[in-house]
Symmetry: C2
Subunit: 409 residues, 2 copies
């Protein structure tokens, strides 16, 4: 069961002017299931994205990058579930291209103005006819208040749809940021993917938008791990529809830029955390903070070593305050000049280890009380600098093995 | 249950002249359990070792390194189970030192001529009085044909004792190599450790011995993973007693050196594989070969990405030929210029993927048949160089979670 994660209330999801969403059941893998989403953008919209670093990059990801690079204004994003079109070679690229051509014909734009995204089974051919046959219904459905249905349409094995809205005021103008995401492992069994789409009505220059999407990704989707595996299809897209009555934000570090960037980052972080809360077999949500490092990178390295360790994750599942496993993970994180005598380790607010060993005031009951909670904070203080990093993860349960061992049986 | 791993037959374990072993039940954690081992070395013996890279390095490991660095001839190795003396700070060092002093007094040598090793619970004080009280019984027990009991004495949660013997002929002289090891995860729950001790009667110069232990470790204990965690106590020691009637081997790359080095490596590799076969919850033994790389390092990186992936490991547990998970792991291994179109992936002898996707001749039944076997070979051909590397691992089962979640409950 997801950890403290309720489905979004439709009325809490605020429309973003200039961004309409249309959903259809195309029968790509299952019948009568929402599996197709078209996001249509208005004239002034700009789009930026970050993508999987996996060398086995799926066909739609390759095409989306090419279309963005063409510099033509994006008119639509096309998302299907049920098939990831990954590990499909040249044929996969051709099929992804056909979906763009068909969408472009219906929306009266160029194929390069459509960005395709796929998630679902990998190594199988995309049923492109079914997808194309579903397009008219999706386009008929286009509306600005469809975010809730859109969040549902992009789910694969997610248990709960993930959507977040926020508003900020910039120069007296109320700006909306609304986003949806899917994923419940970094990669699914045969399913592949984390997808995230965040839109704002603020007008933003292309360079500023690209800076914002990287900033937000580094503090959200790049700070989570369920099982340490990276998908072939991961994509996070930021859309600025430019419909708000505000001067264009051309610098993400300006006063207005920072307000918007932080709102986008907050929405992305909530979506990323929702993915972890809905992680395969998750029963606990853990926040791993590493502070006092020489660089953000070394803090991330240590936080990920803890967050990825199967031994740490099974201990959290068992509510066992097993300090040795966390200390060992810190020790093998690869920071060769780390002085372990200086490290302070906290479980929640309880100081559990210092001076290279157990803290003298620590008692097992104190740690055990923290470990029983569904939300647990682990804090590591390195005392060698001012940098810090946070990673979110979930525990490792019987159900993780069950879900992943039995997925195809 | 361990995968194809029978306990060693005592009569197959050949004594190494000049190396005697004594075992006792010191009651360190449990009563009436063999938990103390003294390995006494003759006058001509030389010792070299490789140790954990974990920054939380246990007290006995620190002391063993110091004693080796003193250059004084090693007279004895002292191993206890039941307590790892790790995460114990200055007090842990003092306790480890006391065990050396006590052993040295009984064997009439300096404390620096004794190398201490501990494995078991971490973050708890070593019960040094119990250990010292057990020493006379262990020393009374010293005998050259005690390898089988010694293999048993160093076990913690291992199900099967691990010991291997081999003989080679060098310049007409029969040389023996016998070794023991323990470990059934890279690190245990609260237990820490992989320990390996390999002895030969060949006379070997110190520099050659050090080269051999590194060579063997890189092809054995450094090629395995159960859960990707690295212990605070891992040690692998190579002993050359120098009792065989052979000229001293002063170069590990000489004809004689290579014969011995390869025999030591083979014994170490069999011990390392035994650790994986006895891996926590293991039901399958996997050999991951990556060939055709530009460097051994990149081949290892890819092999480890596959071997560590929880998704790959649960698929093997389920006997599911889930190619997507293996391809995804190759893709995120961190080789940024990898051309995935060139990669060929084999399950056993079945070519399953090529040209960036599923092989045209591959059928699910072929993969499924391979996956049902208890021993599975995965071979990745990168086609970009001549380097290769092999990693051994086991699958990820319900029992892995059970063992690690319930260890302290």
């Amino acid at each position: 069961m997801p950890v403290n994660l309720a489905p979004p209330q439709p009325d809490q999801l605020l429309p973003v002017k200039g961004v309409s969403l249309g959903i259809a059941c195309a029968g790509i893998k299952k019948v009568a299931r929402k599996d197709l989403l078209v996001i249509r953008l208005g004239e002034k919209a700009r789009v930026a994205g970050v993508f999987t670093q996996n060398r086995f990059c799926a066909a739609p990801v390759i095409l989306t990058k090419q279309h963005l690079a063409s510099g033509k204004p994006v008119r639509a994003l096309l998302v299907n579930t049920g098939n990831a079109n990954a590990g499909t070679g040249e044929d996969g690229l051709a099929r992804a291209h056909r979906t763009c051509t068909a969408t472009a014909a219906l929306l009266n734009c160029d194929a390069e103005q459509v960005l395709p995204f796929s998630t679902g089974v990998i190594l199988e051919a995309l049923p492109v006819e079914k997808l194309i046959a579903g397009l008219p219904a999706a386009i008929d459905d286009l509306a600005e208040n469809n975010w809730s249905d859109a969040a549902e349409a992009i789910m694969t094995t997610d248990i709960v749809p993930k959507a977040v809205s926020q508003q900020v005021v910039i120069d007296g103008v109320t700006i909306t940021v609304t986003g949806i995401a899917k994923g419940s492992g970094m990669i699914h069994p045969n399913m592949a993917t984390m997808l995230g789409y965040v839109a704002t009505d603020a007008p933003v220059g292309q360079a500023a938008l690209e800076a914002m999407v990287r900033h937000a990704a580094d503090r959200s989707f790049n700070c989570i791990t369920v099982d340490g595996d990276t998908s072939t299809n991961d994509s996070f897209m930021l859309i600025a529809s430019g419909t708000a009555a505000l001067d264009e934000i051309s610098d993400s570090e300006s006063a207005a830029g920072i307000i918007l960037r932080d709102a986008v980052t907050e929405v992305a972080a909530q979506l990323a955390q929702a993915i972890v809360r809905d992680g395969e077999g998750a029963t606990k949500f853990m926040t791993i903070q590493v502070a006092g490092g020489q660089s953000r990178e070394e803090c991330r390295q240590i936080a990920y070593a803890i967050a990825r360790s199967p031994l740490v994750k099974t201990a959290f599942f068992a509510s066992d305050p097993n300090l040795g496993r966390i200390l060992a993970a810190i020790g093998y994180a690869g920071i060769t000049d780390l002085d372990v005598e200086k490290i302070r380790l906290y479980l929640g607010d309880v100081l559990v280890a210092e001076n290279g060993g157990r803290s003298p005031n620590y008692r097992e009951e104190l740690g055990a009380a923290v470990m029983k909670e569904p939300e647990i904070r682990v804090r590591v203080e390195l005392q060698r600098g001012a940098a810090e990093a946070t990673v979110w993860t979930c525990d490792f349960s019987y159900d993780y093995v069950k879900i992943n061992a039995e997925y195809r049986t």
